[in-house]
Symmetry: C2
């Protein structure tokens, strides 16, 4: 905890008023920018205010939450968070609010935020809380309701209770466009590396994959569908499994860019080239998609805008607006870069490792 100790005391309004030779109410008017003050009086008071370094303390009552919103992120130094932070900060600035970074849920135990954090939040007040990628428990929701703290979710892992703003991307459609792109290139043996097996947010992308395959008359084999918990290292391991299959895929759709990076690593370890030997598509369009070689073709998720939208919805509700209907889905867009190409001719029937043999022959 902070010290509440000595520290040079700033002057009170009374001191300023005395210095300017006016009453306290008059000084108060100047501080609050009221009009009914004579120019000369205003000048004298302003000077005293400046000279003494008066610091105004807003009165904080439950009716007047401080002009700030809380952003809860799990990991502060990911490029994901960077995009979200920027979107939130811009929208907050527009609304005259500042942004407090909350580590509360980061240091969660068993899904429960630190009691300290909750207490402090209630203590200082907030105009609202924005949860990024969060999975709140019923206890959280109850607590927020009880304290009448408005909140909203950015790309929630689970859908929040009805009436709570939740903004995500068009996961199913986005995934579909990724797979359709691979299909149009001529791939049929397309694998998918999903995020969490059971969570709705990532199952929508796998569903998009299935839908695109089905629309092309293809039934994806069970062994082509893997899950890697949105983790780079796990995706790398899954890729090794995929390419140890009797019939490895010719293309892989990763349900997130960080997982695509894991696929890149595994492919490099296997001596397979992207996109000549294997095509890879990601999902997110984080900055690393451009830094990697070859630059990653991926589905762009408008993170900044998602974050800004969530904040605006929160504010609208707080000000008495109607709650948004269901989850808001912002459109995605396929960004074609250099990680995809038509499949290698013989790849269908041969192990991909035996590259040198396949140069001239043609498969199916």
């Amino acid at each position: 905890m902070t010290r509440t100790e000595p520290r040079p005391a700033g002057p009170t309004l009374a001191v300023v008023a005395r210095a300017a030779a006016v009453s306290i109410p008059t000084a108060s008017k100047v501080v609050n920018g009221r009009k009914d003050v004579a120019p000369d009086t205003r000048r004298r008071v302003t000077e005293a205010l400046d000279a003494l370094g008066y610091v105004r303390r807003p009165r904080l009552t439950p009716r007047h939450p401080p002009p700030l919103i809380d952003l809860v992120v799990h990991c502060l130094d990911s490029t994901w968070s960077g995009a979200v932070l920027r979107g939130v900060e811009e929208a907050a600035h527009e609304a005259g609010l500042e942004v407090m970074i909350s580590g509360g849920l980061t240091r969660t135990r068993g899904g429960r935020p630190e009691r300290d954090w909750l207490d402090r939040l209630a203590l200082r007040g907030t105009s609202g809380v924005l949860f990024n990628l969060a999975e709140l428990s019923p206890t959280h929701y109850a607590w927020l309701e009880q304290h009448r703290i408005p909140y909203a979710m950015i790309d929630p892992v689970l859908d929040p209770p009805p009436g709570v703003p939740a903004v995500g991307a068009a996961n199913e459609r986005g995934a579909r466009s990724a797979v359709e792109h691979l299909l149009s290139l001529g791939h049929t043996r397309i694998a998918v590396v999903g995020g969490y097996r059971r969570k709705q947010c990532s199952s929508a992308r796998v569903a998009g994959y299935r839908a695109a395959m089905a629309a092309a008359g293809l039934r994806p084999r069970a062994e082509y569908v893997r899950y890697a918990d949105f983790d780079t290292a796990t995706a790398r391991a899954r890729t090794h499994e995929l390419f140890a299959l009797p019939q490895p895929p010719t293309a892989v759709f990763a349900c997130s860019d960080p997982m695509a990076l894991g696929i890149y690593q595994a492919l490099a370890e296997l001596g397979l080239r992207i996109p000549q030997d294997v095509s890879v598509v990601g999902f997110d369009d984080l900055p690393e998609a451009e830094w990697v070689t070859p630059a990653l073709t991926t589905v762009r998720q408008p993170l900044r805008e998602m974050a800004a939208t969530a904040l605006r919805q929160l504010l609208r509700m707080r000000d008495g607006g109607a709650p948004p209907g269901a989850r808001t889905e912002l459109p995605t867009r396929l960004v074609e870069r250099h990680s995809t190409a038509p499949p290698r001719p013989l790849a269908h029937d041969q192990r991909l490792g035996q590259r040198s043999l396949c140069r001239t022959t043609h498969g199916t």
Copy 2:
């Protein structure tokens, strides 16, 4: 600006006290965790507090700044800021403080922060302000002093007035280690791409380059020293200039990782391979150094620790500790990855573009 309007009013202490059938002072004691309350009374009050969702408002006087610190960053979605944010947040959490993101200086005009931001900062109070990569004007310093707001600088562009904590990395030594590494590989035609020509922070790295060259008995040619304002695109342009020279370098030291990325781009455009044709060393060790191919050899700057250190120094001073002497410099470390190798034999005398001709011959 925010609305200060209706909003469901939280209960006042008086309401809670009435509900618990105690006096206001007694309710106040419970809220403040005082000991002199009977257990049963405390229970009744606590229940009323919870049931009514009472939100405590700390009294904010100049003697009691809110338990929060402000972090001012220029760009929220860079990996640099991510590292700094994380370091600050961790150190702040340790100290029981929360972190407010300030866009104030981001939206600066002519070096002056928005008046709005300054006013608001004074209004709500802060335990201190941390400036990241900032260049403050005398006006800023005066304002901060007048309002008795403690502050510190993380990797300042210009050194702040004496007595103000400033934490950076050992720029000169770090740069020297980068160039010594290239020297030890056998390079002699080593170019440097610096940040800002006139700013102290980046000139220290160029000085390190010169020192290492001099120690090896080499005098760097003037045309091998370029400046690119810490900008990727500019670094790319400078690289094209460098390799249009009659005698292009065999290695380039970039004074930041983002500039190294620009060098990568230019080299790819020129058909030059890293590290076979040209070696590249960066400075920072941001995440992208690992994502790029080949992985970048670079000088690691402990950003998280720099940020945490700046915060701790600020807090120590606020609590009456002695100001740190001069700028604090944290040690750097060369991280060897895959962007450096010995120079190509003939590279000294031939244009690097003519690769195929040089395979078997040997130069100086």
